[in-house]
Amino acid sequence: MALVGNIRDFGLSDFLYLVDRGDKTGGLYLSHGQETALLFFERGKLVMAVRRPEDQQPDLLVRLGLLSENQLARARASLAARGNGATLTEVILAENLAPREQLQGALQSFSEEAVYSLFGWPEGEFRFEQNQRPDPAAPTIPSPISVDHLIMEGSRRIDEMGRIKDRIPSTDLVVRFLDQPGVRIKGIKLSTEEWRVIARINGRDTLAEIAQKTNLKEFDVCRIVYGFLTAGLVEVVKKPVPMPLARGGPAEMSRVKRSLVNRIINRIKGM
């Protein structure tokens, strides 16, 4: 079943996060006015992203200077001969028609730029067709790329405070690391400014305090923390306020007797 929505309401970074964490395979179709985009994922990693339908065609490899016309013709003939299961990229690598690093670098860069340009869309309909894969002749990236990196870099390129404010409504919020951020940090490259901010995250300081201590603008700190948030490294929370014990807090929960809960369970079961 397709997942449908609008990136105005459920942002692209939110969707990429879902694809990553859910190890999703499928095609994400996006449209915004006359603009369109198509992204394919394999087990949560990006295998292809294009902004124009013609870029799904094999001749993209010629336009990117990766293959000559003759080499492409040879690769297509081999693909046809191999039959089901093979992809054009696999054929090119198997027959040494282009070095792997060159193919990876060019197609990765092409797809990444296509994705980054989408972060600027204020809105756009999306439809995710689960388990859909690119055409075997489509120019896919040899080694699928991590979505974490796309989220981080895409978020870096967002300069709209409005969108950031959706996640970080106030600079009075405290930033803290998630309990298990270790896996998420792999593969993420931080800029100098980001290191300065990450070094100041202690679970006690607010965004405003971090800005003060790093001599960065509050906006820049929010932008950086937004990137960390969307990559699942940190969370922002309200500064804890001491609550009167008489008005329901952890102490109140501890007073709940198991016998009382059991009575309610039995009653609900019997309804």
Partner: protein, 176 residues
């Protein structure tokens, strides 16, 4: 007579009134008015104060169910309703991803101050294009230990299941 309270919260049109109506022993007390703001686009009549339902557990014990108003301008009610609650059900309309951010805001509100036992009910699972509970978990960025349960708020058995799952969470945290 001892009373205990559970709170049912969620964005506008998540199904809170229907959820309480499906399980309450009394006619649900709702304050419904014609919506005068942007919620009219979603619902002609929507809850602007709260819903109230009741289940008698025994001669000396009663469970109250409170549904929170969905609109942002009634946020102040949430804190009042959440005082002393036993647990919280967050209802999500699984067919409307545009409400997921608001749902996150509601979850943040309720769990930021209190160590609240809660579950998430992925409502409207009987509709086409409903996001599955696991997809909702990812969309709402909920950790694995938080229960995200399939739900059809108009179905009494489904509502019972959600309440029981919440009670099991509360049971684990209760004292002998």
């Amino acid at each position: 007579m001892q009373t205990v309270k559970m709170v049912i919260s969620g964005a506008v049109n998540a199904g809170k009134t229907e959820f309480i109506r499906s399980i309450s022993e009394i006619e649900v007390v709702s304050t419904e008015r014609r919506a005068t703001d942007d919620t009219r686009m979603i619902k002609k009549e929507t809850t602007v104060a709260m819903d109230f339902g009741r289940i008698a557990i025994g001669p000396d014990l009663v469970l109250h169910l409170f549904g929170t108003p969905g609109q942002k301008r009634f946020d102040f009610m949430w804190e009042i309703l959440s005082e002393g609650m036993l647990g919280l059900v967050i209802l999500v309309d699984s067919t409307r991803p545009e409400t997921f951010r608001e749902t996150n805001r509601i979850i943040d509100f309720f769990i930021s101050y209190r160590d609240t036992a809660y579950v998430i009910a992925a409502n409207k699972q009987d509709r086409p294009n409903a996001w599955s509970p696991e997809e909702l978990r990812l969309a709402l960025r909920q950790p694995p230990h938080i229960k995200v349960l399939p739900c059809v708020a108009s179905d009494r058995e489904s509502v019972k299941n959600v309440l029981l799952e919440l009670l099991y969470v509360i049971q684990e945290r209760s004292e002998e």
